[in-house]
């Protein structure tokens, strides 16, 4: 009974510390349960949605003219796959569309008609218009549920796709569930009417687009994709590498859940920070309580209580505090399930439903309580180190008088600094806990600060990791246009800062790899603005190449190794001179000099003008200006359905449109025509077009990167506050308990004439060396963490901003100083008499 009373007394006496531990345990349980139970829930939501969609696990899209029926037979004969769904699909890259808020965004789309959809998947419909309403629609469109959950579209809304400057309005008939095509990776699958599908096959025909035959199947155990494509290539007697696209359930799941996994990882890391902090607080509180109650412990021991029994007094406290904190965390999770489900749905793009797994929640809660109690028991057992006589002497046995550290007569510091550091040196052991806490929390805080800084303007952080110049217009020239003179002309347009003549890099096969490469080509990589090697250097000679970190990691290729590229039967070897962190094209990009590129893609000429705008100039506006300056682009001409009234002009317009289609879609370089109507001859040629098309990454960045950037920014912003709060709570409690522990010494010093400010300064300064060391260690740790984190997840290199780290360090140090200083303020409230005699 006496023991339980002592326990309750400890709880009541140091309410602030007990509440601090409770809050930290609450956050530990809350965040850990959110992270783990929802990770499982998201996986389950994906799996269930996938199953409902009726999708198979694998999909291969062959470019139409390359497809042979034999490819399907290979699946059957060589891999025993008999159940293969087949249909025609159009894959289109970077297609502009209007978002629900009217902004222009860009997607990768897959288009099918309803008939094909029923062959490939079960066409499970969600929210939709009535059948009568759908019947009445001129251009009905079915979108994956992602567009409803994430992008806020509704049945009956207009959904407008923009191609070649022309708008194609659709009405959303409803939403449906799809298995393999609900992300930007492989493209969102849109279901169109037969007419609209046919119309789009004539519009989306660039080298990046792909209309062809889709095979969908569940792979057998013996199925190997690379081997299968090799067999198909053999059967077709040509390399199919660049004419096939594939997706599988594993890749789709990774595509859709990557960022959720990152957030889960970050939440787990945050809960680790709070957990380490709560353990430290427990250690700190038990040490203080034992020290405070040393004589009482001695009395109890003298009365015959065993040290084990006395240790229990300190244990009960943490069973109560830990249980309340952890259970509250679990209850908060359960109560917030609908909100959390909604948040997860928005990030995943599929409906996350249902309650959390109560068994898992109970397990996590119990584990946290057990960990807290076990740690408390370990520390509480130190009571046994104090037999009655020692305890009655306030544990004096343990004092060591061997060395006077930092004697005042030799100190050159001010008295407050001297006394502060003296106090620190005399109690170094207790600093280990503070160091662990501040290093852990400081690393998390600096990482959050770095990530927040990278994402402060939306997608900036991810753009910096792209490994390509993004803030540019890519102007493709017609075959008849002279790149140099066009470049000069564009340079004169206001708002243009720089124009580079480059190759529009084509797909290249990489020998020994199933992952084809897209070439990024520069005459001189010194001109690139967002491309920086992580290791090694840029390629300078025609036999040199730089590759992405992902390819380096997955294929085991390093600087100095050689790599073989192939294009249309031409194979060339290159030496790797550099490795770059790159998100561009999933890290498959290779970087070649102009001459290096021309070795493997023979007879190609650089006909791409990379236009760099002045700061603040809108790419959309600049695109319009350039297009108007050159009388429109061939692509615009090919899709322009507005016709003039006059017969001559109508004939000329039709001819121009035909020319534009031939030029932009069939590789025709030069074209002359003459049309005779009666005795009149109407002439024209293709040379009226200078520009084939103009593109930019702006739309795709808005669609794919900005939402991720904004979520990450919000997340890290909250994390910054949370971690600062944790650091503040820990230090304020330590500082306040330092006042309580040393109240007599502080009272004596007040009696000697030290002011409250002097003593508060001493307490704050006492922790400074430990805090500074911890912050420095955290700064070094965060450099490695930042590099490891982004490298491991995206195989890219996040920039580690040293100024941000320095600002973060200064903030942490100043913040810690003021928290400890202000928390020691209770010195002010106690008179010198009370301090001495309390």
């Amino acid at each position: 009974m006496k023991i339980l009373r002592l326990s309750l007394f400890n709880l009541k006496k140091n309410k602030r510390e007990a509440i601090g531990i409770m809050v930290l345990t609450f956050f530990t349980a809350f965040m850990l349960i959110i992270a783990l139970s929802n990770k499982i829930k998201v996986d389950t939501a994906f799996d269930e949605s996938f199953e409902r969609s009726g999708s198979t696990e694998y999909a291969v899209l062959f470019r139409g003219e390359k497809y042979r029926d034999g490819f399907r037979h290979i699946l059957n004969e060589d891999y025993g796959i008999t159940d293969v769904a087949q249909g025609r699909m159009l894959w289109a890259a970077m297609v502009d569309a209007y978002a629900s808020d009217g902004d222009t965004v860009s997607y990768n789309f897959s288009f099918v008609n309803e008939n094909t959809e029923r062959k490939l998947e079960s066409f499970v419909k969600g929210d939709r218009l009535s059948d009568e309403d759908i019947e009445a629609l001129e251009h009905p469109l079915w979108l994956p549920t992602n567009f409803q959950i994430v992008k806020g579209h509704k049945p009956g809304d207009e959904f407008t796709i923009i191609a070649g400057g022309k708008e194609y309005p659709f009405t959303i008939a409803g939403f449906y569930e799809t298995g393999l095509m609900s992300s930007d990776g492989y493209g969102f699958k849109l279901i169109l009417s037969d007419e609209d599908y046919e119309r789009f096959t004539n519009i989306f025909t660039t080298s990046l687009d792909c209309e062809g035959v889709m095979l969908m199947f569940n792979p057998s155990a013996s199925f190997d994709y690379d081997e299968y494509i090799d067999k198909c290539s053999e059967a077709a007697a040509e390399d199919l590498g660049n004419n096939v696209r594939n997706n599988c359930v594993g890749d789709e799941k990774i595509n859709e859940t990557t960022f959720l996994s990152i957030y889960v990882l970050m939440i787990v890391a945050l809960s680790a920070v709070t957990f380490v902090s709560s353990l430290y607080m427990i250690r700190h509180k038990i040490s203080n309580d034992i020290e405070d109650q040393m004589q009482q412990i001695g009395v109890l021991e003298a009365l015959g209580y065993r040290s084990k029994e006395i240790s229990l007094a300190y244990l009960y406290e943490y069973i109560i505090v830990g249980s309340i904190g952890a259970i509250m965390g679990a209850v908060a999770d359960i109560a917030l399930t609908p909100v959390i489900n909604h948040g997860m749905s928005v990030v995943l793009g599929r409906n996350v439903r249902g309650s959390s797994d109560l068994l898992l929640i109970a397990l996590i809660t119990i584990l946290i309580i057990l960990a807290v109690v076990a740690f408390a028991l370990l520390k509480a057992r130190t009571v046994k180190n104090f037999p009655p006589v020692v305890a009655l002497r306030k544990g004096i046995k343990t004092h060591s008088f061997s060395k006077n550290l930092l004697p005042l007569d030799r100190s050159r510091l001010g008295i407050n600094q001297s006394l502060a550091f003296k106090g620190l040196l005399g109690n170094l052991k207790s600093c280990i806990g503070i160091i662990i806490c501040i290093v852990t929390a400081g690393t998390a805080l600096l990482f959050s600060a770095l990530t927040f800084n990278s994402f402060k303007d939306g997608a900036g952080g991810l753009i910096a990791m792209m490994g390509t110049d993004t803030d540019i217009l890519m102007v493709n020239l017609m075959g008849n246009a002279d790149p140099e003179s066009t470049r000069e002309e564009i340079l004169k347009i206001p708002g243009v800062r720089k124009v580079l003549i480059r190759h529009d890099g084509d797909y290249l096969s990489v020998k020994g790899s199933s992952n084809p490469a897209v070439a990024t080509v520069f005459g001189d990589f010194g001109d690139a603005e967002n491309i920086k090697p992580y290791l090694g250097r840029f390629p300078e000679r025609d036999n040199e190449i730089m590759i992405g970190l992902r390819r380096s990691q997955s294929e085991g290729r390093n600087i100095g190794d050689s790599i073989s590229l192939e294009h249309n039967g031409i194979e060339k070897q290159y030496i790797i001179t550099g490795i770059i962190g790159s998100l561009h094209n999933g890290g498959s990009t290779v970087y070649l000099t102009t001459k290096g590129y021309e070795r493997v893609v023979i007879n190609s000429e650089p006909r791409l003008l990379a236009v760099y705008p002045d700061k603040g100039v809108s790419l959309t506006e600049l695109e319009k200006t350039i297009s108007e300056h050159f009388g429109g682009t061939a692509k615009d001409g090919a899709t322009d359905e507005e016709g003039p009234k006059d017969l001559d002009e109508r004939i000329k317009a039709v001819a121009d449109e035909k020319i534009a289609v031939l030029l932009s879609q069939y590789g025709v370089t030069d074209f002359d025509y003459a049309v005779r109507i009666g005795d009149r001859l109407i002439r024209g040629n293709s040379r009226s077009y200078i520009i084939k098309d103009i593109g930019s990454y702006e739309g795709i960045i808005k669609t794919q990167l900005v939402p991720i950037g904004e979520t990450t920014r919000t997340f890290t912003f909250i994390a910054l506050f949370l971690i600062s709060g944790i650091v503040g709570v820990i230090l304020s409690i330590i500082s306040a308990s330092e006042v309580r522990r040393q109240r007599q010494s502080l009272g004596i010093m007040k009696g000697l004439g030290y002011s409250s400010k002097d003593l508060m300064t001493q307490i704050a300064l006492k922790f400074m060396p430990v805090i500074i060391i911890s912050v420095v260690v955290a700064s070094v740790a965060v450099v490695y963490l930042n590099s490891f984190f982004w490298g491991a997840i995206f195989a890219t290199i996040a920039s580690t901003s040293i100024p941000v780290i320095i600002i973060g360090d200064v903030f942490l140090i100043v913040f810690c100083y003021f928290v400890t200083y202000l928390s020691a303020g209770r010195i002010r409230k106690i008179s010198v008499n009370e301090l001495m005699t309390e």
């Binding site: 004096i396 004092h399 008088f401 006077n404 004697p407 005042l408 007569d409 100190s411 050159r412 008295i415 001297s418 006394l419 003296k422 106090g423 005399g426 007599q744 010494s745 009272g747 004596i748 010093m749 007040k750 009696g751 000697l752 004439g753 030290y754 002011s755 409250s756 400010k757 002097d758 002010r828 008179s831 010198v832 008499n833 001495m836």
Partner: protein
């Protein structure tokens, strides 16, 4: 005309005791003459220590004035009082109150360095004072727990006088010491007083009170007796003791 280093005017101090206000010091008027060795005596609970702490700025009076060298200090903030104490007062406590985690020399310097700059002269003076009190050089690096009560109190006195305070306050400085140690400590006080140090000391011990030049007797929060003596050692000790005993008897001691 004697100059007063410390005066009080209608000084009051009360404590709340279970909801009841207990008036410990009541309208007390007092003058302490510079250079005097003033001893405050009285029965237990008469308010001796309370008066000492109010006079020294260790505690704030409830009402009335405390005038130090012509300056009223009762309205000072806690930090102003701290600055006042460091420049003008030295303290010797019954419980000694050395800083446990500091050596003998550091304890003395902790008191000194808040006022003076660290210098060889200061350290030499601290060592010299410690030696004068009978401590040995090997004691300088000892911690308080390694000292006897008498040794510890000598350190306490050196710490109190190292800054040459205008006035030295002592609260039962020999209360925890045996008679031999107590005598040694009192000899130090006498020596210090001979050098012109003003001292205000609270005690209930006649042997200690004999060292003073003036004895004030406190009862029910007011001074009821004021007895003057010549400096210790200048008269016959037996007569001195008899005179003081007679005074105390009259006071009802």
């Amino acid at each position: 005309m004697a100059s007063f280093i410390l005066q009080t005017n209608k000084l009051c101090k009360s404590f709340s005791n279970g909801g009841t206000l207990q008036h410990v010091i009541k309208n007390l008027d007092l003058e302490i003459v510079e250079g005097d060795f003033t001893v405050i005596m009285g029965s237990s609970g008469s308010g001796k220590s309370t008066l000492l702490y109010a006079l020294s700025g260790m505690d704030k009076p409830g009402m009335g004035k405390v005038i130090f060298d012509g300056k009223e200090i009762q309205g000072f903030s806690n930090d102003e009082l701290a600055v006042f104490r460091r420049g003008n007062c030295g303290f010797v406590f019954q419980s000694i109150y050395l800083l446990e985690n500091q050596t003998v020399l550091d304890n003395v310097l902790t008191g000194a360095l808040i006022v003076q700059k660290n210098s060889k002269e200061l350290v030499d003076r601290a060592k010299e004072l410690l030696l004068k009190t009978g401590l040995k050089e090997e004691d300088f690096n000892k911690y308080p727990n390694q000292l006897s009560g008498g040794e510890a109190q000598r350190v306490g006195i050196v710490r109190a006088v190292i800054n040459n305070p205008r006035i030295l306050f002592a609260d039962e400085p020999t209360g925890q010491l045996n008679s031999a140690s107590g005598k040694d400590v009192l000899d130090i006080f006498t020596e210090v007083h001979k050098n012109g140090q003003s001292i205000v000391m609270v005690t209930h011990d006649i042997k200690t009170a004999l060292r003073g030049t003036r004895v004030l007797y406190l009862r029910d929060g007011g001074i009821v007796g004021d007895y003057r003596m010549c400096p210790y050692g200048e008269d016959d000790e037996k007569e001195r003791r008899a005179g003081l005993t007679e005074f105390l008897d009259k006071m009802g001691w």
